[in-house]
Symmetry: C2
Subunit: 323 residues, 2 copies
Amino acid sequence: MMCDSDNGISLENLSKFVVKRVLSDSPDRKLIFVEGSLEGHEGAAVLILEKKAFDEKTVRALCSEESVLVKSFVNDLYSTYECFPNTKVNGIKTTLIYPATEKHIKKFERKTVHIIQETPEIYKNITLPYILSETFSVQWVYNILEHKSEVEKIVFEDSDKDLGFILVPDLKWDGQTLESLYLQAVIHRRDIKSIRDLTTKHIPLLENIQTQGIKAIEEKYGVLQSQLRIYVHYLPSYYHLHVHFTYLQYDAPGINTERAHLLSTVIQNIQLLPDYYQKATIPYTLTEADPLYETFCDKGLLKKSTVVQQYPPTANHVSVDNN
Amino acid sequence: MMCDSDNGISLENLSKFVVKRVLSDSPDRKLIFVEGSLEGHEGAAVLILEKKAFDEKTVRALCSEESVLVKSFVNDLYSTYECFPNTKVNGIKTTLIYPATEKHIKKFERKTVHIIQETPEIYKNITLPYILSETFSVQWVYNILEHKSEVEKIVFEDSDKDLGFILVPDLKWDGQTLESLYLQAVIHRRDIKSIRDLTTKHIPLLENIQTQGIKAIEEKYGVLQSQLRIYVHYLPSYYHLHVHFTYLQYDAPGINTERAHLLSTVIQNIQLLPDYYQKATIPYTLTEADPLYETFCDKGLLKKSTVVQQYPPTANHVSVDNN
């Protein structure tokens, strides 16, 4: 039933996996992370299950007598069913992590997210000292800029030291599927950490990224300006200014309004008010696992949350006195 | 195999559905819309398939000998498989529309989306005349404000005619699951179409919505301010100012940076620059099916797009001369 290879474990079915608890799930993406153990083995295991996407071939295979329909309801021209197809055309992507460390479990555990309204004072007194105290290495960025790595990936380069940048595919993109197009423009200058540092003098740089990035993408991939989402993150994932270019219809991670700032809006805000990003209160999100969360709670800028529960409270919550 | 009820059709399996083409799909959500026909029946049919989300009960049922694993690879502590479970624990949500009209097919067809940078001139000369010429009825909004409908749903009301609003659950929300909390604050004033109309004099209104909305939600649902995303849409779906309150970790529709404007940022922009929303270039998105798309193309403000194709071109595209 089970055979241990040199470095890992290999299962023939899921009978040995003992569910302990759900770490987190995404009902939209049909994805779940489960903590458990393996019968006959010590220590924790993490099981990741994700339903597979449909493609035309699978749909054609599904349309057979083996796909049994159980009717939910019929209303005029609409009828709904649960379909039980032959298992061969309906597999589930499955990943097992064993032995799973405390770190794996923490990583997949649902983390409560908070939004903080960062005033200029909070930036100066809390965020900036934190950024400077952490050694966020951007050596990998310098390696790209110095042509020491990923040279073959460069889609476009403007080598001007003030206005220039390198356009490369994001690691998340396969470089091929235009529906998930994702590139990053990384600037040559090394003195801009984030949008907080931007002022009037950076407008030529920002406009250069916009104009030449759009042109390079249209020439190489045939995707129009109006089909691109061009934005920066705040907080960014690394503190060297970079601009994201994604296909507008692609739900890329981090495109929500509380994280992504359209480059066109950034340029305009500085045009309307030269010190916009020094004066503005800018929101950012952080999880309760983030060291900054504790700092904000200690200073009374965020409240400690209770985990969101079902509303109305279930019997368990109401009868807590009986325990 | 098939029985026609009074108004619709009822299938026992999927053997009679003949696939014509995929109208659109969402690989992330594991959802697909397919155009086809039904053997022995005239006219078009639309088949909608969506994989089901996981819950703990299903996962426990899945962990059995009947869930056969086919190994993809083992690497150290990580092993990946395709899992073929008993079909009973792995159903697919299925909807059939028959007979499907041209309108159904259009509705589910993938639509290319474009982003337009709306300058004040474009607003004045194109968007505003369009809004005014279309009879977007907001009678249903007035019914809520006048307590003629949905009275029992009101979560909070401030009846002040200048600063007041009604807070109601959004139609998309079940009113219970806090993880998908979604409320709308609808203002009593009837003279504000969208953020384009906002100026300094509206700050007390906007701040009132923010302060009292947050307070009402914390009191009723126990969700903290820092766990809320509070925003307006541009373009809005109806032209009577309303503010969305959603749970921060819920990926509600329309929270992308090109559509959603955080209320805190809107208030601040007006504080920094009283006529920000009259001066600003504001982006908005529209599909090629939108009447405004043709207008923008005619005026040279948008280019006609080709459908995004695989890159690099496949053999089919290269050898087009051979056909």
